[in-house]
């Protein structure tokens, strides 16, 4: 058993991969708590796809792919809040329009690239085992920055998410914190691209948070449990990928999905089975007393 666990760690790419995916798992899960609570899942998915033109452009110009992705994500995030703030169209409509437009632009640009682009497929599907030392460093720095900001403004984010009216009476600038949240989300998505890729980022954002929501009743504990689920999914997924020779991103996401299903069925207060058991037993006592 020990040998089974230790064997992957003898490879340097597995060490880096495990570190990177654990970092990303924790980061996505914590930011994802707000995504789940504020109903931003669609936005998260849209932002992930919207980075495509930025990546393609950076590739064409021989620039840094991560930087291109980050700029594209922030531009789209700001555009979405601009279009929906005018009040003429709803936010999800604005997201739908911009998401499709950005994705199309990305596809257009990529189709103009003749050579087979390995780097681009890595952005699309993630390649955690190809993470370099520099990548790991950038991931760690950005991860610490995002988590630090969330800790620093924990109370502000809590109030603007839970009760905007109180936020106004406490003179918290909700618009600014909303934009900050969008930027943190964009950063998280870009950092995650290497491990799970564009297609699966949304799952890493939403699934651990949703599972943790079922298991806890306070935001701080929800974040801790989500981070744990994110980290465990990353590690387990990577081991599965190593031994079964399957795509790492998909293995990580499916592990997280499995944990969510477990929580959905068995969570003490909100799970399906305990609730079913509760209604059944109360019905029994009712019939017995009757």
């Amino acid at each position: 058993m020990i040998e089974w666990l230790m064997k992957p760690l003898t490879y340097e790419f597995m060490q880096r991969g495990l570190l990177a995916s654990t970092l990303v798992g924790v980061l996505c899960a914590v930011v994802g708590c707000y995504v789940v609570l504020r109903g931003m899942a669609f936005l998260g998915d849209a932002l992930a796809h919207a980075i495509l033109p930025g990546v393609a452009l950076a590739y064409l110009l021989d620039g840094n792919l991560l930087l291109g992705a980050l700029i594209a994500a922030i531009v789209v995030a700001v555009l979405i809040s601009f279009f929906s703030r005018q009040g003429t169209i709803k936010e999800d409509t604005a997201i739908g329009i911009l998401f499709a437009a950005a994705l199309s632009l990305g596809v257009l640009l990529i189709s103009s690239i003749r050579t087979y682009a390995v780097d681009l497929t890595h952005i699309l599907f993630g390649n955690v085992l190809g993470v370099s030392g520099d990548d790991l460093f950038i991931t760690a720095v950005l991860g610490v920055v995002v988590l630090g900001i969330i800790a620093l403004f924990f109370r502000e984010f809590l109030v603007i998410s839970f009760d905007p009216v109180l936020a106004a009476t406490l003179r918290i600038r909700a618009e600014r914190f909303r934009l900050l949240m969008l930027i943190l989300l964009a950063l998280t998505i870009v950092v995650s691209l290497q491990t799970v890729g564009v297609g699966l980022v949304a799952a890493m954002l939403v699934t651990p948070g949703a599972a943790a929501y079922l298991l806890t009743r306070r935001l701080s504990s929800m974040m801790i449990v989500a981070a744990l689920i994110g980290a465990v999914s990353s590690v387990v997924g990577l081991y599965l990928s190593f031994y079964l020779s399957v795509a790492s991103g998909a293995a990580v996401v499916l592990t997280a999905t499995l944990l969510f299903l477990l929580a959905f069925l068995c969570a003490p207060a909100r799970g399906l089975l305990p609730r079913w058991w509760h209604t059944r037993s109360t019905r029994r006592t009712q019939t017995r007393t009757a």
């Binding site: 109370r155 809590l158 106004a168 009476t169």
Partner: protein, 273 residues
């Protein structure tokens, strides 16, 4: 305007809250026109008026949720926003996500956020205040429950406890007596008595003229403008009530006024004072 409008609260105390010709509204529609009045230190004022008279709008202006078109609001003689946390507001309906993962004591602790240092845990003092506010609203036993598990009246009391935890100088409550159980109504009234003892200024909007007459000294009669303002006995005259509620009031020969509030859909009630 009418004679009634000239009734001004007479008090030697300096005004804690003053409005000078305040106008406000939504988009193109002006809801409050030239509203001017002063609330002295520690007074308890009922805000009464027909539906759509601008009672909620007035409160939103006072907490800075709605910008003022013209005029000014002064608190302790300083313009709105100069004080960070001296006005607490309990809205009529909380448009919040009731499934949000917060416990009752978490919600009340939010009232202390302005007093807490960044990245620091709440002090023993803050915890003691939260516990005291929960006890005052008789919900200390619910402290660890999720906010979504509570009944409507209990939820209302949580938000009152939070307003209390803010240690406000001015407390605004929008229709706290509408659609709540008797226990919550009693707890709210007891709270108002306590606040008055602590010289907290309170403004409470209500439909209940009976309750206003029996439990409040001062009343602001509002119908887009200040119709009358002063002691209940001076304001509640057939003339001013008729003016405020226009067609909705029926004068009975023995001096009683019957206010028919037909405007809210599915709500048809008559109140006698």
């Amino acid at each position: 305007m009418s004679e009634a409008k000239k009734i001004i609260l007479d008090s030697a105390e300096p005004a804690r809250l003053e409005l000078r010709e305040v106008s406000a509204g939504y988009d193109g529609k002006l809801v409050l026109h030239d509203v001017s009045f002063q609330v002295p230190h520690g007074a308890r004022v009922a805000v009464v008026g027909p539906n759509g008279a601008g009672k909620s709008t007035l409160f939103k202006v006072l907490v800075g949720l709605l910008p003022i078109r013209s005029g000014e609001v002064l608190i302790h003689g300083l313009p709105l926003g100069a004080h960070q946390d001296c006005v607490a507001y309990v809205p009529q309906r909380n448009d919040i996500d009731w499934r949000f993962p917060v416990t009752v004591s978490d919600v009340v602790m939010m009232g202390r956020f302005r007093h807490l240092a960044r990245l620091q845990r709440a002090s023993i003092h803050d915890r003691a205040i939260v516990l005291h506010c929960l006890e005052q609203m008789r919900i200390a036993n619910l402290a660890k429950r999720s906010i979504g598990e509570l009944s409507g009246g209990q939820q209302q009391r949580v938000f009152l406890a939070r307003a209390l935890a803010q240690e406000p100088h001015i407390l605004l409550m929008d229709e706290p007596f509408t659609g709540v159980d008797a226990a919550t109504q009693e707890a709210t009234l007891a709270l108002l008595d306590d606040l008055q003892a602590q010289h907290v200024t309170a403004m409470i909007s209500t439909h209940d003229l009976n309750l206003t007459a029996s439990r409040f000294e001062h009343v602001l009669l509002l119908n887009h403008q200040v119709v009358a303002y002063g002691l209940v006995s001076e304001v509640f005259t057939p003339q001013t009530l008729g003016q405020a509620f226009s067609g909705q009031v029926l004068m009975l020969p023995n001096g009683m006024a019957l206010v028919d509030e037909c405007c809210p859909p599915a709500e048809h009630e008559a109140k006698v004072i």
